[in-house]
Amino acid sequence: MKLSCDEATKICDKNQYGEASLWDKIKLSFHLFLCKKCGMYSKQNTILTKCYNNHKDKEGRTEHCLSEIDKKHIEQEVKARI
């Protein structure tokens, strides 16, 4: 039942992705009830997840392409080896 702070914050991180098991969540709640340091980590983790999600929404829309110069360069290299 007893978790170290390292283990508790690891579960807390896993929980941000909705992938902590029920038993993990029970152990985490018990730890957070007693540990203010991890309580702070947990609170801030929720804020950070919102930041990461915002960042993801921005990044996810970006389609990455090679520049025409790079494509030409790769094409030359490939054709030289055919």
């Binding site: 390292d6 690891k10 801030q44 804020i47 996810g60 490939v78």
Partner: protein, 189 residues
């Protein structure tokens, strides 16, 4: 009637037809333009060498992606070995008798309560990008795949040939280090 529709390879058209797709696929995993470009080029070179082994069962693109995946695993293994170990990783928890307890000077500090209102700030995204970029390469790669690209845990484990417990240790270390970096660069009172 049995199907005889076998796929064929057209190396002359690879760059035109597949380079952008392969590049976009790679950027989602390594987030480094030069490295992504090199991996795409190496994929084409390896494909040329292996073209006699192509049986035509899969499409040309699927076959090229399978080669690219090997290149990405090779890169991950490289950063997970000698180079990765040489990178500076910050410890947050004690060893020895008090193993797993917070190291006193690394304990989270309190943040301004109004901070949540600022979450849509573009400067915050810049600060975040800087902190993600400062992570050890292995942490950055797994963190981006899981958090920014939102791949399933199973998919990442399969692609990088790691276990899920290994993945969660990496995510935990990445997030602990990111929290500290964001505290110093953005959230501190």
């Amino acid at each position: 009637m049995p199907s005889t529709n076998k796929h064929i390879l057209s190396p002359n058209k690879w760059v035109e037809l597949h380079a952008d797709y392969l590049y976009n696929y790679t950027i989602g995993r390594v987030n480094n333009q030069d490295l992504a470009k090199d991996l795409v080029q190496d994929t084409f070179f390896a494909a040329l060498k292996a073209k006699d082994n192509f049986q035509g069962k899969a499409s040309e693109r699927t076959w090229l992606i399978s080669i690219l995946k090997r290149k990405i695993i090779d890169h991950y293994r490289k950063i997970n070995s000698a180079k990765g170990k040489a990178e500076v990783k910050m410890n947050f928890y004690m060893d020895g008798d008090r193993e797993g307890e917070w190291i006193e000077e690394r304990v989270p500090s309190s943040w301004d309560n109004e901070i949540e209102k600022d979450i849509n700030n573009t400067e915050l995204n810049d600060a975040l990008e800087k902190c993600i970029g400062a992570l050890p390469e292995k942490y950055e790669m797994v963190f981006r795949m899981k958090t920014i690209q939102q791949f399933e845990t199973e998919e990442i484990c399969k692609e990088l040939e790691i276990t899920s417990s290994n993945l969660w240790v990496i995510i935990h270390r990445a997030r602990t280090q990111l929290r500290k970096c964001m505290e110093e660069s953005w959230f501190k009172n």
